[in-house]
Amino acid sequence: MADTSLLYFTELVSMPVYDVTGHRIGRIKDAAMVPLVHPSRIDRFLMGGTDAWLTIRYDQVASINLNRGITLSDEQLVPYHDDEYMLRIARDLFDQQIIDVNGRKVVRVNDITMEVHHEHGRDTLSVLEVDIGVRSIFRRLLQGVAPPRLIRRLQHRIPPNSIRWDLANVLEPDPLRRLRLNISYSKLEEMHPADLADIVEELSPAEREAIFETIDSEVAADALTEVDPKMQASILEALEPEKAADIVEEMAPDEAADLLNELEDQTYEEILDEMDSAPKTEVRELLEFEEDTAGGLMNTEYVALHENASVMDALAALRGNEDLLESLNTLFLVDAEERLCGTIPLARLFVASGGAKLKDLTAETMIQVTVDERQDRVTELFDKYNLMTMPVVDEEGKLAGVITADDIISVLRAK
């Protein structure tokens, strides 16, 4: 029984419309939602049959039935005029790409499944699902060729493939129109950055920019890091410098530096100008190094403590750097001149007592390189000593940065 209260958009199109006296006055051409008013209700029906199309408001409809068509309760119809707040199904949704937030992919709309509600003595339609699979292609191909009942019977052999309307994200590059149609990309912010990056790679440049323009800078930075390096530069170049700077600030400094290196000089300067001073200095320092040296690989996000510090001090320092915790696995000890004098695997803190000196917890051998060490040598050391993290020091032995295994994986992948 549930099936009878469903209506496909392909069935709605060309459905006859009857006035209160039962005369046929036209056929449905398209229907539209007004997302600012209601997120899923079909708000207007567009009817052809006379010289110009007429607009039927949802509250002028008495009943909607697959066999008997649409009967009106009020025939005061106004001529249709294009209104920017309308999302027209056949024109704006059919055959277009949308993002399936749950399935994490870009799909193309074949048909829309709607639900017929009966309330307050009239029938209303609301969009339930976006249909994407072979079943909906079958419906589209037979639409208007075979009677709807027959199509429904035949399609049962084909497995359905649909996504819920509230998990579908419509794409609209034009910011003004996005506002009027109440489209946001905030649903995408919940995705894993790598999934979001995959989706973005499939879109057209304009749609790509629209997404990076509007989503949270931190999410944008994480996703941008995962995007194909060739595409990263063109995305940043297309954004407003302020937004680009916000995103770059959120990236790990080493990745930000690599990315900025790929940009044209002018854009590069524009973005650096817009950045806050702290991340800017870090990135600028990294930009000084050759790309294929330890200095070019390293990043400056690490936790270093004085050589006389205790486990308690270390825990306090970690609390102050919570944003680093997810990927941190080593602490560094430096002397009064900031020269590196030891590394401590993070896990050792858990088994040591609170008052223990960090000095006594250091790893037996300390592998380190200088900033100008060649990249090949660095990967060799990672392999030889099975490292997760390796400190990088400048000419005077001062701690300059740290290279992590994920940097090495990227280097090896790029070969």
Binding site: F94, D95, Q96, K105, V107, R108, N110, I132, I137, R140, L141, L203, S204, P205, A206, R208, D228, K230, M231, S234, E237
Partner: protein, 416 residues
């Protein structure tokens, strides 16, 4: 001065970054069918038809340029755009036709592989299955970057035709003269030949492949100037190769005894008196061209169809996520290669002729959709066709359609 060198190096780097799609597409154009047509032209009419190569190059550039521009500006493939602007039903019909057309094309390519290797006494029952397997593995196990590199190497291998053309020691003075002097004989065979040369040059699948490849490459409107040069370079390369094929056959066959040839392999044999190397290079070139086209066609078809119909596609996805893509890709190869082994020789020759007819029937539709799309300002913005270029495009398209339909008509007539 250093600044200029730096800038020059930057431009070269950008050019190399966008290079690939245009050169590959144009070169694949010289596939088994193309080589046969050019060989026939040279063998039968000597240097006379050479002048057509210049206008053919121009027509090729006009169509290819539109596709690569649409790809760079919209970031979408041609079948994507057709779907979005003209709806599902038209797209479905077009894709169905494209699959059929390309399947016969794939058969033609595998037939080219079979005949070229039979010149080296390798049985087609060995060569064709091995080639089919190689093609399948190349794409399924490779990624876009590595596959593109292999394709670019295949483009370079067309140089075999240039060398074999030189080895034949043709009459260069005459070749140069007839390259720029249009000769129109009122001889039906000659006119058929000219039309055939245009007919084999521009195929529907090329437009889809080129645009998708430009998108995949990530070319943006900013780099488009370089991409355009790449397209032009590719078209010129293609027709330089065509020139040498015509010249080789003119020097080796026509100047000895003008005659009609039936297969490209026959042309290769005709080169034998001019040295073992001329023969070897010509045959190797045919093998390279056929294998090259056989690798691209099934892939391009599967991509195009999945793009247009909204199925998951791409060799970067596992089988489970893109079943229709892999099914289509595999079927095209298996059926295309299988036909060469199982169908009777005569039926095969007819199928291959049929592929040209179907190409010709689908091409007008594709070209008209292309012009309609490229004139949509909401898609192309400032990059839509300027008025004068629109005129050039329409003239070219009408010319191509006219010649192609004439070619179809005469092929159909010849088949009866």
């Amino acid at each position: 001065m250093r600044k200029y060198i730096a800038r020059f190096r930057y431009h070269i780097a950008v050019f190399l970054a966008v290079a690939g799609p245009g050169i590959i597409t144009a070169n694949v154009d010289n596939d088994a069918g193309g080589i046969l047509t050019y060989s026939q032209a040279g063998a039968q009419f000597g240097y006379l038809p050479l002048w057509t190569l210049l206008p053919i190059t121009l027509l090729l550039i006009v169509t290819q340029e539109m596709c690569s521009r649409m790809g760079a500006v919209t970031g979408k493939g041609l079948s994507d755009l057709i779907r979005e602007e003209f709806g599902l039903r038209i797209t479905f019909l077009m894709m169905a036709a494209l699959v059929l057309v390309n399947l016969t094309n794939v058969m033609a390519e595998f037939a080219g592989i079979a005949t070229s290797l039979e010149l080296f006494h390798i049985s087609r029952f060995i060569s064709v299955p091995l080639a089919a397997l190689a093609v399948w593995v190349l794409v399924v196990k490779g990624n876009y970057q590595s596959v593109e590199k292999i394709f670019l190497v295949a483009c370079v291998l067309y140089v075999t035709y240039i060398i074999s053309g030189i080895l034949v020691k043709p009459d260069w003075k005459e070749a140069a003269l007839y390259s720029v002097r249009p000769v129109l004989l009122l001889n039906t065979d000659y006119i058929y030949m000219l039309i055939g040369m245009v007919g084999t040059t521009i195929a529907p699948w090329m437009q889809f492949y080129l645009q998708s490849a430009v998108v995949e490459k990530g070319v943006t409107p900013k780099d488009y100037a370089k991409s355009r040069i790449e397209v032009i370079v590719g078209c010129i390369m293609t027709d330089v190769v065509a020139f040498f094929i015509v010249v080789a056959c003119a020097g080796a066959i026509y100047s000895v005894q003008p005659r009609e040839i039936k297969t490209a392999a026959e042309a290769a044999v005709g080169l034998k008196p001019f040295g073992q190397y001329a023969f070897l290079l010509f045959s190797a070139g045919l093998f390279n061209a056929s294998l090259f086209a056989a690798s691209i066609l099934p892939l391009s078809t599967a991509y195009t169809v999945c793009e247009g119909m909204g199925f998951e596609s791409g060799v970067n996805r596992p089988l489970k996520e893109a079943p229709i893509f892999y099914l289509l890709y595999t079927l095209l190869i298996v059926v295309g290669a299988g036909a060469v082994l199982l169908i009777h020789e005569d039926a095969l020759v007819r199928t291959i002729l049929m592929s040209q007819v179907l190409n010709g029937m689908l091409l007008p539709l594709v070209l008209i959709f292309m012009i309609l799309l490229i004139n949509k300002t909401e898609l192309m913005g400032e990059w839509s066709n300027p008025k004068w270029f629109n005129f050039v495009s329409w003239v070219s398209v009408v010319l191509i359609i006219g010649l192609t339909l004439a070619y179809v008509a005469m092929t159909v007539k010849g088949m009866q």
